[in-house]
């Protein structure tokens, strides 16, 4: 079916009106191709991040030092698989299949959050991931519950509810460790030292270097700029760090009374660029693991499909 230029103009006007009025775009609505592509890229990247993010935390499930912590961590990593599935489900409403996105992930053609390319070296990393990484993710994600695309917004509502529990358990673990032995306290500070700067990078490049931000904000796919969210995260985290009794590793971090916000030091964007381009500490390992799981599972998926096909044939009535 062809659409005339006039019709396209009408549709585009409808779309713009809906978005401007904070309405939701739903899967069968007309949408600009750029909007659809941007959404697919953003949601897929988000879904991939959930799935790859299972690995650094999964690294400690077998060694979790108490049964309660083991159960919480296993449930958390399971939640992340669930979040990935919710998000892949949202991408499918845009006409793209999960299998296709998985291929793009393991071929390194689509990205995931660079934070998961850092290693988890101690159990305190589990707490710090909950507190800082999930905390940063919440800053990024809570506004997305009002994203203009309905299926994405709805998935984010569910995800944010669970993420807030994740952040809470991370904070609670760190509080326990800080009230523990000297070795446990040292473990926490070491983990904070390693994760603080990567967590700031989670908000993406500075606004001046983020060419897509303006269009994404106009489309209400994004609600705030990278720097706005990063500032909010810093302002939120500083008092929490004080409450925990840990030092954030930034000598330039201080309250600016004039701006009513914290000043903080320069982010090492070279390191960020390295990690994004695939040369972080764990990029290769994370993708290799995901690829192995996917490829090792092919025979299982094939078998189930073959079984279903046989049954479908058998169920055809003989008469």
């Amino acid at each position: 079916m062809t659409v005339t230029e006039d019709e396209t103009r009408d549709l585009e006007a409808d779309f713009e009106r809906t978005v401007a009025a904070e309405g939701r775009i739903e899967p069968r609505d007309w949408m600009p191709e750029g909007y659809r592509k941007t959404l697919i890229r953003q949601i897929a990247q988000h879904a991939h991040s959930e799935i790859i993010g299972m690995q650094p935390e999964g690294n400690w499930i077998l060694r979790a030092p108490s049964l309660r912590r083991k159960a919480i961590l296993l449930a958390k990593v399971q939640d992340e698989a669930g979040h990935g599935l919710y998000l892949y489900s949202a991408t499918e409403t845009l006409g793209v299949d999960r299998a296709e996105l998985t291929e793009k992930l393991i071929d390194a053609k689509q990205k995931y959050s660079s934070i998961f390319n850092y290693p988890t070296l101690t159990f305190a990393d589990i707490g710090v991931i909950g507190w800082l990484v999930d905390g940063a993710a919440i800053c990024n994600q809570v506004p997305l519950c009002r994203s203009s695309y309905g299926p994405y917004a709805r998935a984010m509502v569910r995800i944010c509810k669970e993420e807030s529990f994740h952040q809470r358990q991370g904070f609670e673990l760190l509080r326990t460790l800080m009230a523990g032995t000297d070795a446990q306290r040292a473990m926490v500070q070491d983990a904070v030292d390693r994760w603080w700067w990567p967590s700031l990078m989670m908000f993406g490049p500075a606004d001046g270097d983020s060419p897509n931000t303006q269009q994404s904000m106009a489309w209400r796919i994004k609600r705030h700029t990278n720097d706005e969210l990063r500032q909010r995260y810093v302002d939120m985290t500083v008092p929490q760090a004080a409450a925990l009794g840990v030092t954030l590793p930034d000598p330039e971090l201080r309250w600016n009374d004039e701006l009513q916000a914290h000043d903080f030091g320069a982010i090492d964007w070279d390191e960020f660029a390295q990690v994004v381009k695939g040369a972080g500490p764990c990029n290769a390992q994370r993708l290799a693991n995901r690829r192995a799981a996917h490829e090792d599972g092919q025979w299982v998926r094939d078998a189930a499909a073959a079984y279903a096909a046989k049954r479908a044939h058998q169920e055809v009535p003989a008469a």
Partner: protein, 116 residues
């Protein structure tokens, strides 16, 4: 990417049963509907992939209800749904407009459904 190309990628190939060429089809997409408690309607909560109806129910129970007892679940293959959507305008996607399983989530989720 074209919608038409994309959807054909999901059509399961005609399987052969002589053991020579096992079908390498993707698991089909299922839409999931959950009744959170008695007195409520089933509402659409999302989708998942499963090889068949039985496993789709298993997966739905795991993923969308966290195995909450007393929750009723429906799963239906996306390609079995026929839908109309008067407020929505989809001429751009018209070639796949009948493939409603591509566009499942136009059901709204009430806020009062637990676990969603």
């Amino acid at each position: 990417m074209s919608m038409a190309d994309d959807t054909t990628a999901h059509v399961e190939g005609e399987p052969t049963f002589d053991g020579s060429t096992p079908p390498r089809a993707h698991w089909p997409l299922y839409e999931v509907f959950v009744r959170g408690k008695r007195g409520l309607n089933h509402v659409h909560v999302g989708s998942l992939h499963a090889p068949d109806d039985t496993m789709a129910l298993h997966n739905a129970r795991n993923l969308y209800t966290r195995r909450n007892e007393g929750v009723s679940i429906w799963v239906v293959r996306g390609d079995a749904i026929t839908a109309s959507s008067p407020d929505e305008k989809d001429p751009f996607f018209a070639p796949s407009g009948d493939k409603v399983y591509r566009h499942p989530t136009f059901y709204e989720i009430p806020d009062d459904v637990p676990h969603l």
